[in-house]
């Protein structure tokens, strides 16, 4: 009978590079992201994990839930430690091993931005993945520059909600001229696995941005963890696309666009947003979506919403 996702059964059952017993919360999007990413990458992978939720999820010494080599590193160094490992592997003649930096939004957008920028400018042959739960979740839900406007966090409480727009990390990476930039999420798992398979075979700095739901931080029931992630794409808040050597492809075109309000109202963290702010966010999302469509298909006239 037909599988929902275009992922062969053997791929899901052949090996367990991620084993259970991990310390993630119920419904953790980051745990699911790692599981699926490794399905695309396989066992010839090394992972660099800076301070972030995954620093804890993996388990406590002397145990690790991952069956690939992992090195924990200080918060801001994921990209450059990966670069160092890559140099060493090249010296050893092991060029087919993927070195992946697996960092949260804090370690990418904020404190880790410098080392990421350095690695990207050098086009170091690493795969950099930002699993983005849109706040410093590991330390208790504080805002980052990846936190979307209107979201409650412990440092943007009601009355002082974050107003600044979310940094556009894909564009920042693109500005470095790297060969591959993509966004993905567990709500479209076959697309995610495919992107990791593809990224594995590209040389140079590859950047994948994963929207990673966090039930405690987003104030949602763990049961709807994947559903809300899907709503992010259906409402065009989190478009799923890839840019390969400057060429844009939008991978998920929502058949029926979900209103942005539905996405916001599904999460407790947006409960304090006023109508004005919702309207502003909706406009921002619309604008960015249209720009993206235009870049993906410059020949077409600018799309409009009917």
């Amino acid at each position: 009978m037909q599988k929902t996702f275009d992922i062969p059964r053997e791929k899901m059952t052949n090996e367990e590079l991620l084993q259970p017993g991990m310390l993630s919360c119920q419904g953790c999007g980051a745990a699911l992201s790692m599981k699926l990413a490794l399905k695309g990458l396989g066992e010839r992978t090394m992972i660099v994990i800076p301070a972030s939720c995954w620093g804890i999820i993996i388990g406590t010494y002397p145990y690790s839930t991952l069956q690939v080599p992992v090195i924990h590193v200080p918060f801001e160094t994921a990209a450059v430690v990966a670069s160092g490992i890559r140099a060493a592997l090249d010296v050893r003649g092991e060029a087919d091993i993927t070195v992946m930096a697996w960092a949260g939004d804090g370690g990418t957008y904020d404190i880790g931005l410098q080392s990421l920028s350095g690695a990207a400018e050098r086009n170091d042959d690493i795969l950099y993945v930002c699993y983005d739960n849109e706040a410093y979740m590991n330390t208790g839900i504080q805002r980052s520059s990846a936190t979307p406007p209107g979201a409650w966090t412990s440092t943007t409480p009601a009355g002082a909600l974050k107003e600044e727009p979310k940094k556009d990390m894909e564009m920042i990476m693109l500005a470095h001229g790297v060969p591959y930039v993509a966004s993905a999420s567990v709500a479209y798992p076959d697309d995610l696995v495919r992107k990791f398979e593809k990224a594995r075979n590209i040389k140079g700095t590859r950047f994948i941005h994963l929207l990673s739901s966090c039930p405690p931080g987003w104030r949602i029931d763990s049961a709807v963890s994947v559903k809300v992630t899907r709503m992010a794409t259906q409402s065009c808040v989190f478009p799923i696309y890839e840019i390969e050597k400057g060429k844009y492809t939008v991978n998920v075109l929502p058949e029926e666009r979900l209103p942005v309000e539905d996405y916001l109202q599904a999460q407790g963290r947006f409960r304090e947003m006023g109508k004005e702010m919702i309207r502003a966010v909706r406009e921002q999302v619309d604008q960015r979506w249209l720009e993206l469509l235009a870049r993906a298909d410059p020949g077409k006239n600018q799309a409009s919403f009917d």
């Binding site: 450059v80 670069s83 060493a88």
Partner: protein, 384 residues
């Protein structure tokens, strides 16, 4: 083969001869010619290594943490602000038990921008767990890099080789550069016990609770203290191979000395002259050179200094609110002796201010004439 080279070039020779495979460095005066020379070597193929041109010193150390964990001999160099910026990573490197060698050009720490010789940068990193070696000459710098890798890889701790800005980094001296085959015989290939390996996947540096962290730090400290015994053996092997003698510390004319100067860096060279002058004048003066500063060679220091009446520690560094760091550590080492010499603390040469043989002779005189050491260090040459 003997050549006349600057200190920084001696470093790059040391790196080449040690067959370093990954270099990651960020330029900062007065370390820049190391970086430039190594880039040139890598570009011409004279050195077969990957050079990651990182965007900051913090990243420089992070990169070599990565490459060493992947099992490849790695190197970085820095100075002053760069070393300070690396501070978090220095702790990380030592705690990770990675045998990195770092050469640090001792330059003062801002603000104001002062680029000249001062040891405050490296002494302020003494708690990071790194082994620290202080050099007096360009030959010593080259030799210390090579010995540094052997020591680091034997005890699994990183080694910091330091030397004075401009006095050594940019001053040419005669250096006997060994042949690479000779160094190969002395320094074997790097064989890590654990490394990032897809055939033996493990997690490095993970979360560790109060039930285990304590013992890890204990082991690190124990292994560091053990380096005091390992290093002399390495120095002996080095002497056999290359004919040059080194130790954890060196004494000069201290056998019957009543007053012993304690110095590190180029002040040592200057002090030797002052010691000879004092001896000529009939004063029983000697000198202990600090080479290994971390771990502290407690027994050797006590041995070298214990019989003197007066010990004069000259610090080209300052820990504001305490005084000279070497003085504080020497006092601490001597504290357990039943019969303790008086320890005099002198601060000199901060920010590259010249310390001449005359200065050193003056210090000797000052100390001989003083009643006692006094609480406070003497700021030699202070404009008052």
């Amino acid at each position: 083969m003997k050549q006349v080279i600057k200190g920084n070039i001696a470093v790059s020779h040391g790196v080449r001869l040690s067959r370093v495979k990954v270099i990651s460095a960020y330029p900062i005066t007065p370390q820049t010619s190391i970086v430039e020379d190594l880039s040139e070597m890598c570009a011409t193929g004279r050195l077969d290594a990957q050079f990651i041109k990182v965007e900051s010193e913090h990243s420089a150390m992070a990169a070599v943490v990565g490459s060493e964990t992947a099992g490849v001999r790695s190197f970085t160099a820095t100075s002053s602000q760069g070393l300070l910026l690396m501070h978090e990573m220095l702790h990380w490197a030592a705690g990770s038990r990675l045998p990195i060698v770092l050469t640090n050009v001792n330059r003062s720490v801002g603000p104001g921008w002062n680029i000249w010789a001062d040891q405050t940068d490296s002494v302020s990193q003494r708690d990071t767990g790194w082994i620290q070696i202080y050099c007096e000459s360009n030959q010593e710098v080259l030799d210390s890099v090579i010995m540094g890798y052997r020591l680091a890889e034997e005890v699994s701790l990183p080694v910091m080789v330091t030397y004075d800005a401009f006095f050594l980094s940019h001053t040419s001296e005669v250096v006997d550069i060994p042949e690479i085959e000779e160094v190969d015989a002395f320094l074997p290939a790097f064989e890590p016990r654990y490394r990032l390996d897809v055939n033996d996947p493990r997690m490095f540096g993970g979360m560790i609770g109060p039930d285990y962290f304590y013992e890890e730090r204990f082991v690190m400290h124990k292994d560091s203290m053990e380096a005091v015994n390992v290093y002399p053996r390495i120095c002996e092997a080095f002497e056999q191979a290359f004919g040059r003698q080194y130790d954890v510390c060196e004494t000069y004319r201290t056998e019957d000395a009543d007053l012993i100067l304690v110095t590190a860096g180029t002040i040592t060279s200057v002090s030797r002259i002052a010691v000879d002058d004092a001896r000529k004048a009939g004063k029983k003066v000697g000198l202990m050179k600090i080479r290994m500063f971390r771990p502290v060679p407690l027994d050797r220091w006590r041995e070298s200094l214990g019989n003197a009446l007066r010990v004069v520690v000259v610090d080209r560094n300052i820990s504001a609110g305490l005084g000279g760091v070497f003085a504080s550590e020497v006092k601490s080492a001597l504290f357990s002796l039943e019969k303790r010499p008086s320890v005099y603390s002198v601060i000199a040469g901060l920010g590259g201010r010249d310390v001449t043989p005359q200065d050193m002779s003056g210090i000797i005189e000052h100390v001989l004439a003083a009643d006692g050491p006094g609480e406070r260090p003497v700021f030699w040459g202070l404009k008052e």
